[in-house]
Amino acid sequence: MTLDMEALTPRAMTDPAAIPALATRPIVEVKSVSKTYAGGIEALSGISLDFPEGRLTTLLGPSGCGKTTLLKIIAGLIPASGGQVFVDGREVKGPGPERAFVFQDFALMPWASVIRNVAFGLELRGVAHGEREAIAERQIARVGLKGFERKYPHELSGGMRQRVGLARALAVDAKVVLMDEPFSAVDEQTRRKFQEELLELVANEGKSFIFVTHSIEEAVYVSDRIALLSRRPSRVSAIIEPKIVRGGDPEKIRRNSAYLDVVEDIWQQLKHYLD
């Protein structure tokens, strides 16, 4: 079932000219992927999903619905039990340089400085020390951590640590950035700031983002497309394209009736999973 949110959205909020059709080439294609864990727990059941290039697509669903499992299958970190994943036309057999992962718990090396953490992906690829430090420095400045290059993770706040995690993913210049609930471990102010910065990244980077969250508001606010997953064994229950016009005052968007309608609509669909 595909919901066209345009029908529910007032004209003022949609500007078809500003948003090219999402029918652009899919950068990631998930074809009837299923996952059954050892012990017979069926996490995913025949999921098929396209992720448009240059956009942010969110996997949204109730906790334990297999969003993270699907993301890690796309990342090549865990194998699917059935089905295939194609990234940029090539089948996923494991992790690859065209994908970068941002972890929920940051996954920084506590024994390494900020700059070494950010350069770690390049270090693994054998990029020369000077070159990778130069790239890392640029990315550190980009996420707003200039001056913290020689600090260690335990000297940073949670929000700053996730900036390091983001800089590390950007440093390897992957086409697809996979984000597993990246803002769930930071406070609300930082979270909202992160959301603005994420929108900026999506607009300016030309990268494709796949984002996992359990927050409906966050999903609607940042996504070009939302794939709503049902409870385990998970299927795609709806595809929603919020079509929010960006660039305005964030406070206004969050109060806008079109935005609130989409949030409400998703809530209605997810509500019955509560019991």
């Binding site: 994908r99 970068a100 506590p110 024994w111 693994l124 260690y152 590390r168």
Partner: protein, 250 residues
């Protein structure tokens, strides 16, 4: 410690015990326990002698080789056991057995197999120190955050890179603690080995001092070895603290 408003330095209790020792040494117990002052005097007398320096060299060499072997085998073995369930099931009972067994009883067996030489002493050191290194490394590897390993894999780390850049570092606080505990056991190992073989290193000296009833010499030698073990422990504990800063934040 503070007594009636006066702050006493850490070593005060040592001074109290030294005074008690000194007094006891001047009673009839001095026959078996000579006064501390005379023992310390003896330390300066025997340390520069050729037989002492010779024993120190042999002991130091056995200690270093033994520890190098124990670390060289113990750390990889611990990593293997931490990573592989099969290896863990196969080896853990043995490691636990050797960790708690009265190893001195095994030294005569090594002696029969390898003779009354340095090899036996080195193997005794290995036997004493290796198991705690294995067990600590294993614990360190098992405690690694899975997301750190996933992170390395997602950025394309191969098996060697994951080992050398993630596993080794993440488990370093535990590995270092294991090495420190192993070295303290190795001090016991090297001395017990020499005492049982008794024709090598300090073993020879102890043998001579005891058979000629040179109690001052005997205690002087013990004092030197005790302070060596103590200093070693403090040095390694200091090194451990340098890496422990991140142990809590992994």
């Amino acid at each position: 410690m503070v007594i009636s408003g006066v702050r006493l330095p850490m070593m005060t209790s040592l001074i109290v015990w030294a005074v008690i020792w000194e007094i006891a040494g001047h009673t009839e117990a001095g026959f078996i326990l000579p006064p501390l002052s005379r023992i310390i005097w003896r330390v300066f007398e025997i340390v520069p002698t050729a037989s002492f320096l010779d024993a120190l060299l042999i002991t130091g060499r056995a200690f270093l080789f033994g520890n190098a072997i124990a670390i060289g085998i113990g750390v990889p073995l611990g990593i293997l056991m931490g990573r592989s369930v099969i290896a863990d099931r196969l080896l853990l009972p043995w490691v636990n057995l050797f960790l708690s067994a009265p190893l001195s009883a095994l030294v005569p067996v090594i002696m029969v197999l390898f003779g009354l030489g340095e090899t036996t002493i080195i193997l005794t050191v290995v036997l004493f120190s290796m198991w705690i290194i294995v067990l600590n490394t294993r614990a360190g590897i098992r405690a690694i955050s899975p997301s750190l390993v996933e992170m390395a894999r997602s950025f394309g780390a191969n098996a060697w890179q994951a080992f050398s850049r993630i596993y080794l570092w993440a488990a370093l606080p535990e590995i270092l603690a294991g090495i420190r505990l192993g070295m303290i056991r190795a001090v016991k190992g090297v001395i017990i080995g020499q005492l049982l073989v008794s024709v090598v290193g300090f073993g020879t000296l102890f043998e001579i001092y005891q058979s000629h009833f040179l109690m001052e010499h005997f205690w002087a030698l013990l004092l030197v070895l005790f302070s060596f073990a103590f200093t070693l422990n403090e040095l390694l504990a200091g090194l451990e603290r340098r890496f422990a800063y991140y142990a809590a934040s992994r």
